[in-house]
Symmetry: D2
Subunit: 274 residues, 4 copies
């Protein structure tokens, strides 16, 4: 099991190297077979990337701090300098749990947002972006989006590929157009079928499978729907969690103003007043 | 240039064969090199498919009738027996024209809908499906969706592949989850760069290209956005155009009731009252 | 379980339609869910394709005749009009059986050859084509190649995709360059993991898998090697089995002359004299 | 234009980071948009990878040394610790020039070999590996292979993808089976169509293309064949150039003995005696 690390575009080399050294430091025998997954978005709008601010210690601290429990959202880690529909974005996360009769599996999505043009922003279908014409950055930095989908459903590799594709459908619902320079990257993994790297890609005789879940035709479809929902919500959560950030050269990304957005949601019937 | 034909799943052989014969009948010399594109959705909920209702004459009539002008929508052609979010669907179409400064290119989408579960239906972001709990068919037939995207922008093959992928993002906005048994198929083609089959896949020295549009970084992104919008609208148009249809064994798909849907849109602020 | 049918390019519609009707005639209840796989190569060099020679009865006879036992090779079925390195080709087949300690699984490859330029032909690495400069057709018809790989190893979908890709490596060893107009199509399927279409794409908990073969790291690699070998041999078998054929307009494809080729093999040390 | 860097698996982070800093040091304004391509094979059989031997200075020296002229082969750079069919491998390179009437374009392939099982090795079709049963390493380390294909033919992105796939066919001819743990990576690029990153993925109206080469149906096929040939030869060149290497823990990979291999080639008729 190797870590999945998100960072700034020009820092992926450093992040990869620091992660490998961190693994090797903990388990000197395992190192050569553990290759981490490192992905990135370009935060050079706020981040003075050519000062190479990431240090080995930052990566080690992040890995040491990755423990069970709540996931921080907004301007944390790789999310510190990222945008979202020309507002401040960053890390967002959300999950869905299937009904008990479908195995009570969980699907969680974590997004690193760095995509979107303001007028396209929709929250739960409501055209929020069209109504937020101010709070714009000096420059629109077209970016990308990383989505990591995790599930405890015992999915096979070809099924995880299909799950990852559905994450893009969740982004579409928020207003993403997967624009030209935007490199959407989706990764999906299952925590159930942990296979030793020594036996990579095992051959399985399904006739010997006793699991009652096998052959449940509805299950995969429900996992797809859960993936789309969780991804959409994760983007929204990133927007609500992020805070106005001033970066290099005074460049500023403003946080989404909830006091203006929530009434929009309410007027559209998507928020019940308390 | 070969036709693109849509039909019922079990009829694709007949449709292909009839199309080839139709081509050969018109141009005896060209036939062997012209291979049509034939795609399908499964309309066996309404269609008595094992009676093999499609005849060569039906295909020839459709091809003869494919002339410039308005495109029929709803329960026409392959759309006759298809569903959409458990309502009657079929053929829908919509298009977008880019601004003059971006070449005034057109992007058109034609959909053959056969997908969707009622509660998931959104129209322009409004949760219409959740509010339409009646008018349900006896059985939910999970289907697929075909999207054909045409443009007069001179796109290259790898760019058309990207355009086709964006059509799926348009479906996502209507509520598609690309469910397990659903085989979404997207095809994108350009009417500009017509290349003889004799010179298939020409090698191009871009240094010799004089077109001012080349290198217009914004253009591809605008075509992506136009594709998503046109696809989303085409699905909605299919729903509005289709009529309640009684098929085999009395199976019925009801048309979407505009007198109930339009007020929903209005309440959500997505429709200006006249 | 649906048939896999190979035919001439312009006949795939007819072949598909006839196969569907054949299935429906045998099992009136099953028809609408069984979609055959039909593939093709272009044999218009010999075949007067615009006379549409294929009839429903031909397809039904082929399907009725598909019984256990030896597979016919050479100029049979779809192979009747196909070329191979500018010689007469057609259907070829070969198989490999893994050692008992690897499960004694079988991998079989069936090829429909229609590819290759004469000088590129190698048999078991020997440059046979360079030494066969005569027996050329009037025109070189660049074609394609279909490879169908079947195994009783219980492979999963993503593994079968990898197997199919290896078939192309077998073609490479015979001298294929996958040339520009050549549309190589590979299909791999397992006869072990038969899944009802009702439960398409089952979710499997590998922790519940009792099969001792699961996690055999060497197995997949051996299946890959077997696929490459069987595909390479199948092409050679097609060449040896095919007979000189005179087609439309007197066009002729000559059979490979074994009395000239075998000595070439012997001189290169690849054939032990009896 | 960004460098393409090859290294040892665990060193790709370091190599990436050092390359980015090297670029930034030369052109402070360009850095944030230039992302290098870094690829790797696992040389942990000879390389004490957990000592992290690669330093920033090594990468900078390699980049400074990348000048026009002959390319070093064998145990150089990333090739220092790599195997090839259980012999010492490493870097190999070869090229082909098309005839003048096809534009006199060049195709060059550079391989970083780390793949192959001894018995599978073929050189120009001759089963050399079967006859070299000694000189084996203590352990077979199944690896991978990186192939970088460069051409001055003005190929478009979708065509370069096809070229890259053909590189795998060249590997197949040397005896590669693309085994289970082997991650073959092919990259193809054109030096002709240099597009500014500011105008990424330009839209091109082929009607405006004046280049006489456009529409040359034979050209792409010839580039495919040249790619396969150059890749196959590059692997052989790596074998002939590499020298016996003793690595960590005394692990040894032996060089291929030309005094034994050349007579094999001669006996098979693939080498004319001087």
């Amino acid at each position: 099991m190797s870590p999945c690390v998100l960072t700034s575009s020009l820092a992926i080399g450093k992040a990869y190297d620091a992660t490998v050294r961190w693994i090797a430091g903990r388990d000197p025998g395992a190192g050569e077979e553990v290759m981490p997954v490192v992905s990135e978005c370009d935060d050079s709008g706020l981040n003075d990337v050519l000062s190479f601010p990431l240090a080995d210690e930052d990566v080690a601290a992040a890995l040491d701090g990755a423990v069970d429990g709540d996931v921080s959202e907004g301007c944390v880690g790789a999310g510190t300098g990222m945008q979202c529909f020309d507002l401040k974005g960053g890390i967002g996360t959300a999950s869905r749990v299937l009904p008990a009769e479908d195995g009570a599996y969980t699907v969680g999505a974590l997004v690193l947002t760095n995509f979107g043009s303001r007028p396209d922003l929709r929250i739960d279908g409501v055209r929020v972006g069209e109504q937020l014409t101010d709070l714009m950055p000096i420059d629109h930095h077209e970016g990308s989006c990383v989505v990591v989908v995790a599930t405890d459903a015992p999915l096979l590799p070809h099924q995880l590929r299909r799950v990852a594709q559905r994450a893009g459908m969740g982004l579409a619902r928020t207003g993403s157009t997967a624009s030209n320079g935007s490199g959407e990257q989706m990764l999906a993994f299952s925590t159930a079928n942990r296979i030793s790297i020594k036996t990579a890609d095992p051959v399985v005789d399904l006739r010997a499978v006793a699991d009652a879940r096998a052959g449940e035709p509805r299950l995969l479809g429900e996992l797809f729907a859960a993936t789309i929902e969780a991804t959409e919500e994760a983007v929204v959560n990133a927007l609500f969690a992020a805070e106005t950030t001033v970066g290099r050269d005074g460049n500023t990304l403003y946080s989404m103003p909830p006091e203006r957005v929530l009434p929009m949601m309410q007027r559209a019937g998507r928020l019940v007043p308390r």
